[in-house]
């Protein structure tokens, strides 16, 4: 069973899953780091991203490679409404902010259920080719997912590392008071951060809708995975989210291959619990301050 092709397959699947998890978790961890809000609506934005892609492809006949980013940006723009009317008043108020995002996510999910219906749909496969690299089987759509995720993540890291707004966001995440003392306009960066975070989630939602299925309730699982990823990586840590996502993807892929899906689920919960017990601040995070 433990042969080279199997291992390679595990790696390919793991990296694929990991890429999607990273896309989800980055926005989640960013919103927490900058605004101190546990955004329970993050999964609902992913769901909207899935539907945006679906309608752009099916009704507007936009080509896939354009529809995917376009859908993500549309959802990101829509998320600014939620920022304006719900979240803006609750920044740095962890408990109330969390409950409000739960309410927000309910509104989004059940409105989607009314508008789109509850039946599952799927985004039709755009790429059906399958590649054989020696003994390795790689469907084209997985390669595309990987490519898109890689490009997005690269852009994201470049933005955060080398641009002024990116720097400002990192400063605001690290210490808000210092950021404001340096003349950083926090409100504007909150909006920008929320826009980016929701767009990333929507992009992940589109990819999930393509690889798996689309329904108003599809956001729950990716939300859960982002929780696990940020716990592994440390809340608020962007490199932590990247490493945590990859780790979770690989772990799930290998455990599923060797022990079956249900054991893999239990084991990944177990691993997270272990990490939390041994290193409560996550693998790469800082300890929560006593408030």
């Amino acid at each position: 069973m433990l042969s080279l092709p199997v291992l390679a397959q595990v790696v390919v699947n793991g990296v694929n899953l990991g890429a999607i998890y990273i896309l989800m978790a980055l926005g989640f961890t960013m919103i927490f780091g900058i605004m101190r809000i546990v955004n329970f609506a993050h999964g609902a934005f992913a769901m909207l991203g899935g539907f945006a892609l679906y309608f752009l492809l099916m009704d507007a006949h936009v080509p896939f490679l354009l529809a995917l980013p376009l859908g993500a940006l549309l959802v990101g723009a829509g998320s600014l409404l939620a920022e304006r009317f719900v979240l803006r008043h609750l920044y740095h108020n962890e408990l109330q902010g969390m409950i409000a995002t739960l309410g927000l996510s309910m509104v989004m999910i059940y409105l989607a259920a009314i508008v789109f219906g509850v039946s599952q749909r799927s985004v039709p496969a755009v790429y059906s080719e399958i590649f054989f690299f020696g003994p390795l089987v790689v469907p084209m759509d997985r390669l595309v997912v990987l490519g898109i995720a890689a490009v997005t993540l690269l852009l994201f890291f470049l933005f955060m590392r080398y641009t002024k707004p990116g720097l400002a966001m990192r400063v605001a995440a690290q210490d808000l008071e210092v950021a404001e003392a340096q003349g950083i306009n926090a409100a504007a960066h909150y909006q920008a951060a929320f826009f980016i975070a929701s767009s990333l989630a929507a992009l992940a939602g589109g990819l999930i809708g393509q690889l798996y299925a689309l329904s108003p309730f599809m956001g729950a699982t990716p939300l859960m995975k982002s929780f696990i990823v940020v716990i592994l990586g440390g809340l608020g840590s962007i490199p932590g989210a990247a490493l945590g996502g990859l780790l979770l993807g690989m772990a799930e892929s290998s455990l599923t291959t060797f022990f079956g899906a249900s054991t893999a689920q239990l084991a990944s919960f177990g691993i997270v619990m272990l990490v939390l017990v041994l290193r409560p601040q996550g693998l790469f995070g800082h300890a929560e301050r006593d408030s």
């Binding site: 927490f32 546990v38 719900v86 008043h89 609750l90 108020n93 962890e94 408990l95 109330q96 902010g97 969390m98 409950i99 409000a100 739960l102 309410g103 927000l104 996510s105 309910m106 509104v107 989004m108 999910i109 059940y110 409105l111 009314i114 859960m224 929780f227 696990i228 940020v230 716990i231 809340l235 249900s262 689920q265 239990l266 919960f269 997270v272 619990m273 939390l276 017990v277 409560p280 601040q281 996550g282 929560e288 006593d290 408030s291």
Partner: protein
């Protein structure tokens, strides 16, 4: 994450007269709840059903209030509700144990799990505690589903009997009411005792409490275990009320419901979770005419409440009574 004590000025002013007022409202609530079946007996069993649910959920919500008072928000309460539910359901249907014994066992087993898991969970604080308890809740649901040989998996356990002496809906309602009043007395006793003061100290500043000689960690674990014990009782009652349980009865939505009851009701008083359970159970029923939009409206109410009423319904009541007093004077 700390639950902020947002005592209103009016509440602080009326500290002296509050105890008697609080006693009076407690008596009033119990009288109303006791008269509930009589008042509606002629009309519908549906209202009795809703009333029973309200009383049942107030048990779990009050038990979670204890954890809230320590400044922690737990999303794992559905797991302990489930442990209680499965314990009594399996004992009743499997071994034919008598109902009172199964009932006691359900609380004890759930409390024992709280005692075992508490030392692990309570090492975490703030958001990590929230996320971990969330994962714990999902984990428990998986175990209920996957451990088929014990729990019968996703099929659930059917035919859970009600206690023989309380088999009519009205008498079962009174049984639940009795348990809820007992639970309220226990919670109140804890909060009014020295331990209660220690809890408030822990919420305000854990390190300060620690340096003043409060055995912080031991108190936290003990309170957590008591909270799990109480919600376990709700699990047993609920299983006998519905006669059927499955992993789907103990999803994250249940945990969420307990948390929302506390937040909407108000976190600074034991009245909060009681008001919250009335509101949260009754609200979807009130919205029944707009079945389609029921959950959307529920979400809207949550968002609005967080924005305009961060102190919950309890604060609203306090504000109203302060206004009334001002008008009267």
């Amino acid at each position: 994450m700390t639950a902020r004590p947002a005592m209103t000025a009016a509440a602080a002013d009326n500290r002296g007269s509050r105890f008697s007022a609080s006693h009076m409202s407690a008596v009033a609530v119990i009288v109303v709840m006791a008269a509930w079946p009589g008042a509606i007996a002629s009309s519908e069993s549906f209202l009795l059903y809703v009333g029973t649910l309200v009383v049942l959920y107030s048990v779990g919500a009050m038990s979670l209030h204890l954890v809230f008072r320590m400044g922690q928000v737990s999303f794992a309460h559905a797991a302990f509700l489930g442990i209680g539910g499965y314990t009594s359901a399996l004992l009743l249907t499997g071994s034919g144990l008598s109902w009172p014994l199964a009932f006691c066992a359900s609380g004890l087993v759930s409390g024992l799990f709280g005692l075992l898991l508490g030392p692990i969970v309570l090492r975490l604080r703030g958001v990590y505690f929230v996320l971990f308890t969330f994962i714990l809740c999902e984990f428990a649901e998986r175990v209920f589903t996957d451990w088929g040989s014990l729990t019968n998996g996703a099929g659930g356990v059917a035919g859970i009997p009600a206690p023989p002496a309380f088999s009519s809906p009205v008498s079962f309602y009174y049984l639940c009411l009795g348990v809820a009043v007992l639970c309220a007395l226990i919670c109140r006793g804890v909060l009014k005792s020295d331990v209660g003061e220690a809890i408030d100290a822990i919420r305000t500043s854990e390190s300060l409490a620690e340096s003043n000689g409060v055995p912080v960690f031991r108190i936290k674990v003990a309170i957590f275990a008591i909270s799990c014990l109480l919600v376990g009782f709700q699990g047993a009652l609920q299983a006998s009320f519905v006669h059927y349980i499955s992993p789907a009865s103990y999803t994250f939505d249940e945990s969420l419901r307990f948390v929302v009851m506390n937040v909407i009701g108000g976190m600074n008083s034991l009245w909060g979770p009681v008001l919250g359970s009335v509101f949260i159970i009754a609200l979807p029923e009130l919205l029944r005419n707009w079945v389609e939009y029921q959950w959307v409206l529920y979400g809207v109410v949550l968002v609005l409440a967080m924005r305009y009423l961060p102190g919950g319904l309890y604060e609203l009541g306090e504000r109203a009574s302060a206004l009334l007093r001002k008008g009267g004077a």
